[in-house]
């Protein structure tokens, strides 16, 4: 197995972080890179949507939405009763794992590209769709459909958070402008895309490495959960892909989305909706365990898995 350069960048960041090298990327640059990634993913998806009838996608959208509600409901009891987490912490971690990680998605796309595997180009739409339901589930698990929850402030935070606005914005722009016209801005959003992803992963490696301290504190359960649950979710995602008759590539992506855990949108929403949940717990699992696992081992594994269930 030859490693993709973007994965090597992640490992470089991880190694540098573990050796405590002085290599912090300026926060402004991290922001810049993630803005370009989000917009680029959105734009690519939008271009394809412009070729598609939106109506045809509605059943798929519904099914993916449903998965977004189901995954956190499956994670919660495991976290609460096996992991013995406090209710609010279990709900918050469940929300993280029900939602998705854009960075992981981008690496999976790069992985497929390097293997010349195509996929349904409207996958970014699923990425957007999967960000939200798990957050709602997490909150309702703790608060019920309580009036005390500031649904106004919350939905502002969720729907107008940076990642959704940029993904959706990109989708819309790509959709309205169409492939030919978007080509003109490809010099920033498409040509350097994979290099930008590489640099982004370098920083993610540094961030992941900085979680090791707290990982030690929270111990074996979190480590196991952060690896086993994603594999389990990937099976569900791959199964759904099969059901929806997606291509191999599309199924790998859906499995990866299911397996990935949020570290941007959900943490921000949880600070508002469930502030008593311990944010370190979720981030340690999501960033310190699941993200590295998915990047390095998970994606090829989900590819194998998909080939297996497609009987190849």
């Amino acid at each position: 197995m030859s490693l993709d350069p973007v994965v090597l960048f992640f490992m470089l960041g991880l190694a540098a972080g573990l050796m405590r090298a002085e290599m912090r990327l300026p926060p402004a640059i991290y922001e810049f890179l993630s803005i370009i990634l989000l917009l680029a993913i959105g734009l690519k998806g939008g271009i394809e949507l412009s070729k598609q009838s939106f109506g045809d996608l509605l059943p798929d959208i519904g099914a993916v939405l449903l998965m977004g509600f189901v995954l956190p409901l499956l994670a919660f009891p495991i976290l609460r009763y096996i992991g013995r987490l406090k209710k609010v912490d279990a709900a918050s971690v469940a929300a993280h794992y029900g939602s998705v990680s854009v960075g992981t998605y981008a690496v999976a796309v790069a992985y497929l590209a390097s293997q010349d595997i195509t996929f349904e180009a409207y996958m970014p739409l699923f990425l957007v769709i999967l960000e939200v339901p798990a957050i709602l589930v997490g909150i309702i698990l703790v608060r019920g459909i309580s009036k005390k929850t500031q649904w106004g402030a919350l939905s502002h935070e969720v729907f107008l958070g940076k990642s959704i606005v940029l993904l959706l914005g990109g989708l819309l722009i790509g959709w309205i402008a169409g492939a030919e016209s978007i080509e003109s801005i490809g010099g920033l959003f498409f040509d350097p895309f994979k290099g930008i992803l590489a640099l982004f992963l370098l920083e993610m490696g540094l961030i992941a490495a900085s979680q090791v301290g707290s990982l030690r504190r929270y111990g074996v359960f979190l480590l196991s959960f952060g690896i086993i649950f994603p594999i389990f979710s990937a099976c569900i995602g791959a199964g759904l892909g099969l059901m929806l008759e997606l291509s191999i590539g599309g199924t790998v992506l859906l499995a990866t989305l299911a397996a990935s855990a949020s570290y941007i949108a959900v943490p921000a929403a949880m600070r508002i909706a469930l502030p008593e949940a311990n944010p370190t717990l979720s981030l340690t699992a999501s960033l310190g365990v699941t993200f590295p696992f998915n990047i390095i081992f998970g994606i090829p594994l989900y590819h194998k898995l998909t080939e297996y269930i497609y009987g190849i």
Partner: protein, 100 residues
């Protein structure tokens, strides 16, 4: 010259709270605030500003004593338990006390 003693409140907390705090601060009667980006460490661990979720802000408010108490009490009640936050107060001499 209208020099005068005011309170200077300094709050160091999670960036995520920026909008809520500045809304609170103004509602409670302060006429302004200043914010700088910060990183640090406290009881809730390292917040090293590597990325948005782990970054701090340092909020400074200069105001009269009664507003200072209102802000302190409000923050204590609403944020101290669940958020990484410290708050401290000192006396400062201001020019143009009518501004504060």
């Amino acid at each position: 010259m209208t020099n005068n003693i005011c309170k200077q409140i300094t709050i160091i907390t999670e960036s995520a709270l920026e909008h809520r705090l500045t809304d609170d601060i103004q509602r409670l009667g302060a006429h302004g605030y200043t914010i700088t980006n910060a990183r640090g460490k406290g009881h809730r661990g390292v917040r090293n500003a590597d990325w948005s979720t782990s970054s701090n802000i340092r909020v400074e408010v200069v105001c009269g004593a009664s507003v200072a108490i209102a802000i302190t009490e409000h923050f204590k009640e609403h944020y101290f338990e669940n958020y990484a936050m410290i708050l401290f107060t000192s006396d400062v001499e201001v020019m143009r006390s009518e501004k504060f």
